[in-house]
């Protein structure tokens, strides 16, 4: 047994602190917001047609699915975990939906098929999220390993469901195809419906994290699981729930992607999504160690990455360089927001 008196003090962690000037503390929470504002201002000045509904929709469309997934990822990371399976879960949701849209009469009425196409995939990915949660809490695997299982296996499941074939929605039999496609392509007052979905997800998630008992439990679990448990926080239940949320939102993003593409490709839907989502969370200011999290930050983080990409493409910078600049800006963003742990 060790001596608690010494252990609590511990050795000072020696991380290599590069001589990067620390931002003043009062600015640090707004770093991401300031960076986003700077990008927007730059584009307004230097990019032609930046202030148009078309550009807005284009950018927001590309960022919407990332944000939806990254919100779920934020909850998981807030508990000190990580979810690598989100991309594969998107693929599973993506191949399940068309199965309910095959012909008009199969489920009695076309609208029942549509409802099932929307609900069943979400149910399945939520249950798969619960599977992740079980591996983490009951089996006791590390989150990165636990979710690696479905990262690898999940896409296999998606491929098996449809024999690896791509499905074009317009070739399916249901008269409700255009209704289904509305979640990706529909417009409300000139704004893409998927953007509205994204904004609702962000708003609800921010409120849940901030104002509910569950949200507080998430942060307490990530901040100090042992202490949280002793204060009556149902730590395992909380972890289980965040993986379910992540699974649900991955499923939702999968539906949106299929609706946008008007087709479902088990190989491509959600590819690299886990990494994009983690990058958005990190750039947004949520540390991967858990205990602290900001949903709004995640949204801003995803927007920053998107706008950096857009800016470079709009100014005809080659793709290879674009990728390197994005990588560099992630490092800068995370360093700028790093808090010195005393």
């Amino acid at each position: 047994m060790s001596e608690p008196g010494i252990r609590t003090v511990g050795r000072p962690t020696r991380s290599l602190h590069l001589p990067i000037p620390q931002l003043p503390a009062f600015i640090r929470p707004y770093t991401a917001l300031i960076a986003l504002a700077a990008l927007i201002v730059y584009n307004i000045v230097f990019t032609t047609n930046f202030l148009s509904i078309g550009t807005f929709n284009a950018n927001m469309t590309q960022v919407a699915t990332i944000v939806i997934v990254a919100v779920g990822m934020t909850f998981v990371i807030a508990t000190g975990g990580i979810d690598l399976s989100v991309g594969s879960l998107m693929a599973i949701a993506g191949v399940l939906a068309p199965l309910f849209l095959v012909d008009a009469q199969q489920f009695g009425a076309p609208v029942v098929g549509l409802a099932l196409a929307l609900v069943a995939p979400l149910l399945v990915t939520t249950v798969l999220g619960a599977f992740n949660g079980t591996l983490v809490t009951v089996v006791g695997l590390q989150p990165i390993i636990a979710t690696l299982v479905l990262y690898l296996g999940g896409r296999g499941i998606a491929q098996l469901i449809v024999n690896g074939e791509l499905r074009e929605l317009r070739n399916l039999g249901s008269p409700m195809i255009s209704s289904f496609e509305f979640i990706g392509l529909g417009q409300v007052f000139g704004i893409r419906f998927q953007i509205i979905i994204m904004l609702v997800v962000v708003a609800v998630a921010a409120w849940v994290l901030h104002a509910t008992t569950f949200g507080r439990y998430v942060l307490a679990t990530g901040g100090n699981a042992a202490a949280a448990r002793l204060a009556g926080v149902p730590v395992n239940q909380v972890k289980m729930t965040v993986y379910c949320i992540s699974g649900f939102l991955a499923g939702l993003a999968g539906l949106v992607v299929v609706a946008i593409n008007r087709s479902s490709d088990p190989h491509r839907v959600g590819e690299y999504m886990e990494l994009d989502a983690i990058a958005a969370v990190a750039v947004g200011g949520t540390p991967l160690t858990g205990g602290r999290a900001t949903i709004l930050g995640t949204f801003i983080g995803a927007m920053i990455i998107q706008l950096v990409r857009f800016t470079l493409i709009a100014h005809n910078v080659p793709d290879g360089i674009t990728r390197m600049v994005i990588a560099g800006s992630i490092v800068v963003a995370v360093l700028a927001q790093r808090q010195r742990t005393s």
């Binding site: 608690p4 010494i6 609590t8 003090v9 942060l219 307490a220 100090n224 202490a227 448990r229």
Partner: protein
């Protein structure tokens, strides 16, 4: 240096060692002298600085000040490897070997014999066998380490230590995972090392073991070396008193703590009865707490005090009877105990108490969230009201309820953690070292608060390493030793002496009541060396037979 003419030159001299960590002074002028072929015990309470001193000796930490002489030569180890090369080897509390490699590989890891640049496996196995033979251990050195039992693994760790031509072997709690018989084998090995002229530094909180195997003992307290003496001739009570910083015969000094009302409260109904708890580090602990009384739980480090509190709170599994207001209960988690009106504050605020990045408000109301929310939504107005009330009532010094708790002083953190339970209006509080590591003023305040709470009918089980807290605060004292309840005193009977005796020996014939002891352990006078030797004769060198139930 004051080397006398007659004494042999000490092998090791550590003098004036200082070491500070952020926020804590771990060592403040510690010293240690070890003669060649001597088994030297280092004892002290939690946080006395034993482990830090050893880590400075073996190069794991750098000292801030002080000198280390090995064979009269000043040395300065930058890492454990340098210390090992100079003959200082360490066997850690947790055996740090590689379970899936062979015994021989573990013994020679990092120093494998080579031939033409390749591993000379034959020679390695031969040498490993030879080293183990020297310890009287005969195993096939090609077996994976994981196939050996813990005791044999310990032997392999020792073999690894001495195969480096060690002259001093540091053993930090080497018996903590061994059973009685295995302890005996270990002691034989230590005696063998001694015969070969190898010194050992032996850290343990099992005092019996000192008498069995150690020649001299250094006593540490608060980062300082308090005393150094021969083991033969030192009574256990004396050692305990020195560890705790008390004089034998010192009676309770009233007014040293913030407690005022000991014994003046009428105890109420029985809140909780824990009966014959068994589990990790528990071996027949029993304790009862009534409403409106403070029960002090005393015992040495490792006696199972914390484990009792955690078992009563449902934090760790333990078998045995647990009754709340007469009804048997079985907790699945602390949540159940909290619903029953229990609260628990841990001895380790940082590890088990605070949520560092959350605010004072959130930390204070964490346990109360189920009460403070409707349909899962936190009632911020009510939350704020409670937080303001407790900040005011307990005098918590904070920049505001939104300040991060990690920025508060230890005493104020502790108040927030107490408020975490008090705002639930609990019936029983389990307080593990409630005043550890906080300044004198806050300490007295918290003690006064505990007193007042008990006056108002709260039941308190208070664990403390500070004898004053126990003797001045508790209406009743329960003493644990090696996971077992060995004595119980009411406030009239209790004194620092009686408690110390019970902590050291598990029995105090003249004053304890209601606890049976086997006759072999019954001790009379303890103050002279002669008795101590008899005591050692009568007492097995390890946690031993109290089992006549």
């Amino acid at each position: 240096m004051s080397d006398s003419l007659v004494a042999p030159q000490p092998l090791l001299v550590m003098e004036g060692i200082e070491k500070a960590f952020p926020g804590v002074i771990a060592l403040d002028g510690a010293s240690l002298r070890v003669a060649p072929g001597e088994v030297h015990a280092v004892i002290g309470q939690n946080g006395a600085g034993k482990s830090t001193l050893m880590k400075i000796l073996n190069g794991a930490y750098r000292r801030d000040a002080g000198t280390i002489l090995l064979d009269g030569q000043p040395v300065d180890f930058h890492n454990p490897r340098e210390a090992q090369d100079a003959g200082v080897s360490t066997i850690y509390q947790e055996i740090n070997l590689v379970p899936y490699r062979s015994v021989a590989e573990n013994i020679f890891m990092g120093r494998e014999p080579r031939r033409w640049g390749m591993l000379d496996r034959e020679r390695m196995n031969r040498d490993a066998t030879a080293v183990l033979d020297r310890l009287g251990v005969h195993v096939d050195v090609r077996r994976p380490l994981s196939t050996l039992n813990i005791a044999l693994q310990q032997m392999v760790a020792i073999a690894r230590a001495i195969s480096t031509d060690a002259r001093i072997v540091i053993m930090d709690e080497p018996t903590s995972s061994l059973d009685e018989r295995e302890v005996e084998v270990l002691f034989d090995v230590i005696r063998g090392l001694k015969a070969d002229g190898i010194s050992a530094i032996y850290i343990s909180h099992r005092l019996d073991e000192l008498y069995a195997v150690c020649d001299r003992v250094t006593i540490m307290r608060d980062g300082k070396t308090i005393d150094e003496r021969a083991v033969a001739g030192a009574s256990k009570v004396e050692l305990v008193a020195r560890m705790l910083g008390k004089e034998i015969g010192e009676v309770s000094r009233s007014g040293a703590t913030g407690f005022q009302h000991r014994g003046a409260r009428p105890a109420g109904e029985v809140l909780v009865e824990a009966d014959d708890l068994q589990g990790a580090r528990l071996d027949g602990a029993s304790v009862t707490v009534r409403s409106g009384e403070i029960v002090g739980l005393a015992g040495l480090l490792g006696s199972g005090r914390t484990e009792v509190a955690r078992a009563v709170f449902g934090a760790d599994p333990a078998s045995g009877g647990l009754r709340v207001r007469g009804k048997p209960v079985r907790w699945k988690s602390p949540r159940d105990a909290i619903r029953a009106g229990f609260g628990f504050s841990s001895e380790d605020r940082k590890a088990d108490g605070i949520i560092p990045y959350m605010s004072v408000r959130e930390n204070l109301t964490l346990a109360a969230l189920p009460v403070l929310s409707r349909n899962g939504i936190v009632d911020r107005t009510e939350q704020q009201r409670i937080v303001d009330r407790f900040i005011d009532r307990l005098g918590i010094k904070t920049a505001g309820p939104e300040q991060k708790i990690r920025e508060l002083s230890g005493g104020n953190q502790q108040k927030v953690l107490l408020a975490r339970w008090l705002c639930l209006n609990p019936s029983l509080l389990l307080l593990d070292e409630p005043t550890r590591g906080i300044d004198v003023g806050a300490k007295a305040e918290i003690q006064g608060l505990i007193d007042e709470l008990a006056d108002n009918g709260l039941g308190v089980l208070m664990i403390s390493s500070e004898l004053e807290e126990i003797t001045e605060g508790a209406d009743r004292v329960v003493v644990l030793r090696e996971g077992r309840t060995v004595a119980e005193f009411d406030h009239v009977e209790v004194s620092q002496d009686t408690v110390m005796h019970a902590m050291a020996h598990g029995d105090d014939e003249s004053r304890s009541r209601g606890v049976e002891e086997s006759s072999g352990r019954r001790l009379q006078a303890q103050e002279d060396g002669e008795t101590v030797r008899r005591l050692v004769g009568a007492t097995p060198a390890s946690p031993a037979p109290l089992d006549e139930r």
